[in-house]
Subunit: 209 residues, 4 copies
Amino acid sequence: MPLRTAIVTKLDDLNRQDRRRARTRSRLLAAAKRLLATRGLHGTKIADIAAAADVGTGTFYLYFPTKDALFADLVRETALAAKDAMDVARAQHQDPVERARVGGATFFRFAAENRDVFKILFGHSAHFDALLREVHQIFIADIEQDFAAGVAAGAFRDLPPAFAAQAIVGMLTQVTSWWIDRQDVSIEEITSMTHRMLTQGTTVQGERA
Amino acid sequence: MPLRTAIVTKLDDLNRQDRRRARTRSRLLAAAKRLLATRGLHGTKIADIAAAADVGTGTFYLYFPTKDALFADLVRETALAAKDAMDVARAQHQDPVERARVGGATFFRFAAENRDVFKILFGHSAHFDALLREVHQIFIADIEQDFAAGVAAGAFRDLPPAFAAQAIVGMLTQVTSWWIDRQDVSIEEITSMTHRMLTQGTTVQGERA
Amino acid sequence: MPLRTAIVTKLDDLNRQDRRRARTRSRLLAAAKRLLATRGLHGTKIADIAAAADVGTGTFYLYFPTKDALFADLVRETALAAKDAMDVARAQHQDPVERARVGGATFFRFAAENRDVFKILFGHSAHFDALLREVHQIFIADIEQDFAAGVAAGAFRDLPPAFAAQAIVGMLTQVTSWWIDRQDVSIEEITSMTHRMLTQGTTVQGERA
Amino acid sequence: MPLRTAIVTKLDDLNRQDRRRARTRSRLLAAAKRLLATRGLHGTKIADIAAAADVGTGTFYLYFPTKDALFADLVRETALAAKDAMDVARAQHQDPVERARVGGATFFRFAAENRDVFKILFGHSAHFDALLREVHQIFIADIEQDFAAGVAAGAFRDLPPAFAAQAIVGMLTQVTSWWIDRQDVSIEEITSMTHRMLTQGTTVQGERA
DNA sequence: TATGAATGAGAATTCATTCAT
DNA sequence: CATGAATGAATTCTCATTCAT
């Protein structure tokens, strides 16, 4: 065999190997995505992932050092892909409000196209889903009712109360979660800022409809 | 022993038993609250909770069938207490906006007074919490920056961008989480409603400052 | 109160106490009998027995030192009662064969009247009942078939094969069980004696029909 | 590597794996056999079996879901092996009586060669085995005495009373155990059949000595 | 490289028994 | 006497990770 051919063959082999590795890796990720979305991190065993990806248990460790590492890779890759999509969309606009709008729209669209991972990312990790929903519901029911009354009274905008309640609870809980281990912001400030933001919105009055 | 005395004694016994049981139960809940807040659910062993409550391991099982069950009770009881506090506060007012304000304020105050449980609720101790924060941060950083630019440009209200970003992400993610298993709302509607709510707020323009 | 009356009262009290104790004891035994027969020794918890007897858990220990002790009492009392019944029946007869007959008849009658305890005693203790039956069945099926063929060929007496197979297996297994940790009898002797006993019976030929 | 070789290697691997699994499984069974025979089912811990088989604790669970399952497999496999041996022996003969004889002889021989498992089967190691023996003894003592008297009186064949008592009790108890959950046979029939079988044996009178 | 049997530390869970009331 | 809450030693079982083939 001529030297040149040998080298080319060797390169081909390397490429084939690489492609093979990449394929196995994504099969593992895809299998994990499926299982994690339904069973949660704790409920998903490495052996299950390997079996679902149709590789041996040990093979898993040739691609990921631990289960957590795979999980982290999965989550990070998806988050970065979402961010990229949002960046691309926002780059089309200068206006801050417009940028915010397309950012949000892209986020939602991306979520729709990646339900599995988003369930892991933002939906709560399977095991306590039911509980968290149940607890959220306690607050949401009240807010929904109050919001509907406010709409009827002409005080609140005409948004579906079920939607508004979710949005409000989302803001309250995230802000709480953020604030809870900070010492530098007083609760009064948090209360007042959240109230302004919820009632009046982010945009300056009159500037926009 | 006269009959009357005997009956009273028996009733006393029942009450004593009941009180004793109630005491042990709350000691377990209190101990769990402490441990879960710092070590997370996975990191807290049942034996640890029992030890911290100063009871035997087996005693735990006289009150809760599993660790998850205790966790669920803890979360539920706290949520209901928060709801009660909010109900009391809201009952003082008729005006929908005012009711919303005191509701929120009470929620935040309650969170401040029950940091331990809220830390558990928001998973500030979970195993992969660091990862979820990291990922959230990816989105928040962008939004914060954009929001700051919008404030500078006079488009957005003068709210701290760090706060606003949290509030926005909270709303987006909760709405996503809510919508993700629903078929009956289109993503365009979600996008548009969320945008209106975020930019213009809940209250009808002009009616309020 | 006159002395005499006081003494009588005291005696009455003692008797009442005794009767009360006896009653509680039999309620515990009766409850245990019921539970043990269905769930087996291992599957029956002391707390269950106490609850079924409608007494407190601790009360159990005022009557029996351990679970095994109750079990032993139950079994021994029943066995001795059976033995007594058999003794009474046998005492009516001089003839060895007749004594054997009424002994067996009484044993069967007693078993019929004390199914629960007999299930514990001779039926195999619940947990492995199914397995032991399954295994017995392996042998019994073969023997039953062979026995039926032997009856058809005029070699064996006209007994129901299903019955005969049970009887044969019972003899084989009990003899095996008895012999298995003895060194003083050869297996050839066992084989030959068992065969003689099974084929020719216990009674001397010709003497009886 | 030529395709043929590759395939052969893969097959070899599969066989190797299979053989390895089979080896581990029998080591576990052998270890269990040893321990169960001496310590009984309850007294034998899974960790003990694994240790005795020189494998890790977890390995046990790769082969048997529970201790009971291993026990069941052990018993079943032994019973089937015994049945096979008996089948082979019986196949040599046409005559029903002869078939019965070699069947019994083979059963006994098999028991002698598999004392360990038979000890487990007959519970010679169970927790309350001592109790059951004690109780059996109550009946056996009487029967033994009566049988000896019957032999002396010339009514019963000259069989060792200790042996005969075991054989009789075995038949009685097995028949009882079989009959105890049946509704379709009267106790009088059972009594009479058992008596005929015990006294006259299975073979037709006069036809054989 | 791929495999899957083997590992064993670690956690959950049970329940006979005690004992303060 | 009666009670049933409390105990904790003892066991079972899981599953991430290793490694010989």
